[in-house]
């Protein structure tokens, strides 16, 4: 069954530095770092102490609020450092990788014969559960509440995103195993979106509802898919899984091994030869970015994730748990003479206020990290709506979050959204308001007060 979803509101941000369709094996990272902050809202309780050895797929820590949710190591090796922040908060777990990798064997699971409880227990036990996220609140799914549907976006529309058609090619068996397993966990359907003119391996899977999406970004966001197919109502839960993580789940089901391998796109205008790498979750980004990549001392920003919602990392920082893109763009920490009033040809704008990106919609831009203006109160109206396809009033929701009116946040649709849905409105915001942060804090407040 296939349904078409066409988005009109949105914005394709075309940037220089799209990855060539070649995959290189990344240099093996000696150190792997797992940062608990990747798992929003999780308070880690350590299982592997400093100095102990773990296998690939061996337990590192579990979630304090739910012991069943376990987090595993992408490599076999030795835990060499637990980096702690204020109040002894665990900031990072560093593992020195062994030369020869040993996998913990979780055993194969024949999905067709297993029931929901067995599948769930297997995913929890093997450390695959953190790949399953839920809405409301955009956090790791609570295993005890079964979702009304599961959503997977197989179409990446974000700027310089890794092409999922390319990175998932040849993984049909793993994908099928994963979606079959997930399908057991919901009474509803597993909804998968693919690009309209793509040849995604996801399109041919059985047991899923395929939606062909087209239109500008955020047509590929899973939040858009949910909103157009089956929005989250009060009291309901849906789950989402990143398409690339299905491969890891699938491989675990088929082989019993937690193989944290992932194909990652190295992109951005600062990268000499943007291309794909095969690497592990938690690998140092330095293992990929320098060879035919960025200049060593250049003033660049390295981002684990895309330029809209990714996290800034240092060269010795690590690929985060959910990203399949590393973006490198120039920093913009310089002044620009009369930059606020002179005609602009080299930046993207949705207005035409002496900004000329409308003249040439196909042009690719080399944007830096300058804010192009200062933080101000909300002034203009109607701008967000042009890039926001969900049936929600974006500015009204943001304001409700700012003044912390829980009833209003609920009524205006906070259960349906994740911070990344507000990335485009943040990009175009004339007042340079931090939309994603506002939404994240709003969701956190609701999670705490309403649960």
């Amino acid at each position: 069954m296939s349904k078409d979803i066409r988005i009109k509101k949105g914005l394709d941000i075309k940037l220089i530095g799209e990855a060539d369709k070649t995959v290189e094996q990344a240099v093996v990272s000696n150190y792997i770092t797992i940062r608990p902050e990747d798992f929003h809202g999780v308070i880690p309780k350590l299982i592997a102490k400093e100095g102990s050895s773990v296998e690939a797929g061996g337990y590192l820590f579990y979630d304090k609020s739910n012991e069943d949710i376990k987090f595993v190591s992408p490599v076999s090796g030795k835990v060499i450092e637990i980096v702690r922040g204020p109040k002894r908060r665990i900031d990072a777990i560093k593992i020195e990788a062994d030369k020869a990798q040993a996998f913990k064997d979780y055993g194969k699971l024949d999905v067709s014969k297993a029931n929901a409880e067995e599948v769930k227990a297997h995913l929890l036990d093997s450390g695959c559960w953190p790949f399953v996220k839920q809405r409301p609140y955009d956090v790791i799914a609570k295993p005890e509440k079964s979702p009304k549907a599961i959503f997977i976006s197989g179409y990446a529309s974000a700027p310089l995103a890794a092409d999922l058609d390319f990175t998932l090619k040849g993984k049909e068996a793993e994908l099928q195993a994963a979606v079959s397993a997930l399908g057991k966990l919901t009474e509803g359907q597993v909804h998968v979106s693919v690009g309209k003119n793509s040849n995604s391996p996801l399109a041919s899977l059985s047991g899923v509802t395929v939606h062909k999406v087209s239109g500008p970004h955020p047509s590929g966001n899973v939040g858009t898919l949910i909103n157009k197919v089956d929005p989250v109502n009060k009291g309901e839960v849906v789950w989402t899984v990143n398409a690339q993580d299905l491969v890891i789940i699938g491989e675990l089901l088929l082989t019993g091994k937690f193989n944290a391998e992932r194909i990652v796109a190295l992109v951005g205008s600062s990268v000499k030869k943007p291309r794909y790498f095969k690497t592990l979750i938690g690998s140092e980004v330095a293992t990929m970015i320098y060879d035919n990549g960025v200049e060593k001392d250049a003033n660049d920003r390295i981002i684990s994730g895309n330029v809209l919602s990714g996290k800034q990392v240092k060269p010795d920082g690590a690929l985060d748990y959910y990203s399949n893109v590393i973006s490198v763009i120039p920093e913009g920490d310089d002044y620009e003479f009369f930059g606020w009033t002179k005609p602009v040809f080299d930046k993207i704008s949705v207005s035409r206020a002496l900004t000329f990106s409308w003249l040439n919609p196909k042009k690719k831009y080399d944007l830096n990290t300058n804010t192009n203006g200062e933080h101000r109160a909300f002034v203009t109206t109607g701008t967000y709506e042009e890039v926001f396809p969900l049936d929600i009033y974006p500015m009204q929701v943001l304001k409700a979050c700012l003044y912390k009116d829980l009833d209003e946040m609920e009524a205006l649709g906070m259960y349906e959204v994740a911070p990344e849905d507000f990335a485009l409105t943040e990009f175009v915001c004339v007042s340079k308001q931090p939309h994603q942060k506002i939404i994240r804090e709003g969701l956190d407040l609701m999670l705490k007060e309403i649960g």
Binding site: I13, L15, P159, P231, N233, G235, R301, I303, L308, S309, Q312, E331, G332, D333, Y335, E336, F337, F338, G339, W340, T341, V344, K347, S349, V350, S351, R352, A353, L354, T355, T369, N370, T371, N372, G373, E374, H375, R376, A377, V379, T380, T381, G382, T383, E385, D391, I392, Y393, Q396, A411, L412, E426, F427, V428, C429, S431, K432, P434, Q436, K437
Partner: protein, 408 residues
Amino acid sequence: MGLKDKLHDFKVKNKNKKWLPAFSAIHTFLFLPDETTHGGTHIKAADDLKRTMNTVILAMIPCLIFGMFNAGYQHHLALGDIQAASSGFFSSEFWTLDNLTVGLWKILPLVIISYGVGLGIEFLFAILKGHEVEEGYLVTGMLVPLIVPVDIPLWMLAVAVAFGVVIGKEVFGGTGMNILNPALTIRAFLFFAYPTWMSGDKVWVHGAVARDKAIAAGQNLDAISGETILGTLAQGKDVAYSAADMFLGFIPGSVGETSALLILLGGLFLIFTKIGSWRIMLSSVIGAVVMGVIFNQIATAGIVTESSKFYGLMSAPFWEHLIIGGFAFGTVFMATDPVTASQTTRGKWIYGFLVGFISILIRVFNPAYPEGVMLAILLMNVFAPTIDHYVVQGNVKRRLKRVKVKTA
């Protein structure tokens, strides 16, 4: 070391000084800041509030320049020095240095007072409250001289600007937080505090008041009359201006409001740049036309006869209302203020329609002062949040209904 580095060092050195916002305001005027993103999107679109405000100012500049020439033109015309403009928009009687000189002499002080007092207060509040100087006043400061009579005493303007900025905006929290359009708050203050300077047949042409005083002092001179077309209509007299004069702007009125042609161009520019809301502008025109047509029908049906004091304005053809008085200016530059207008798409249609509708309604029925745009916009500013509330409730209800359909 260039200016750029010097200013940067100065900023860093005085990081903790209380007056830094005042310096920053000038610094960021010269240079787009070196600020980079952190935490959210790593890239940002090119537009900021300064650029947005600047675009609106650009759209008003033609009106300002035209207003300067018109101030001189009306003055000289009333004195009988020159002939009426006869050859369209580029009439040689209009675009003369003499006219411009009068305009510069009278209108530049208005601009300077408006910006000087307004920005002074903005800077003061920024320093007191420790935030950056926001750009809202850049547009207000340009609007104010364009919507007052040319001969308004400067001290009155200064008092009104101070009132408007403090009471109309800063007490609500500054730019983005105000309920009423600050420029119109300033004008309303003038209107109610000094009505003799804001209405009547003496204030719209430079020199008319002075001439009146001279006559009163016993000098043997002809009085200068500079009545607006609305004033003439309200008294049921015949209008001495052609429709072309009204559209091109060779008529008495507030400084920048007379040229419907240039306001139309400014409006099209705002729509093209996507800074101004075409929905508000269009629906306001529709609202005004609807009201105008209703009045025309009443007049032709004989319900209101020529003996009525409302007949003059009611019988004026509906399209004339669009090009006389402050309607065009208010619709393009004031009703579209995003902070005080409706913020939702559907709300903008309703809000704009009512602005136009009520403008003409008040214009016709206001016994003391035949103009209604200012009051209509201020009234709708007050109702804009209510309109938005009901529009947003529609979305909320749809969401609730979704749940009911499920559970049913």
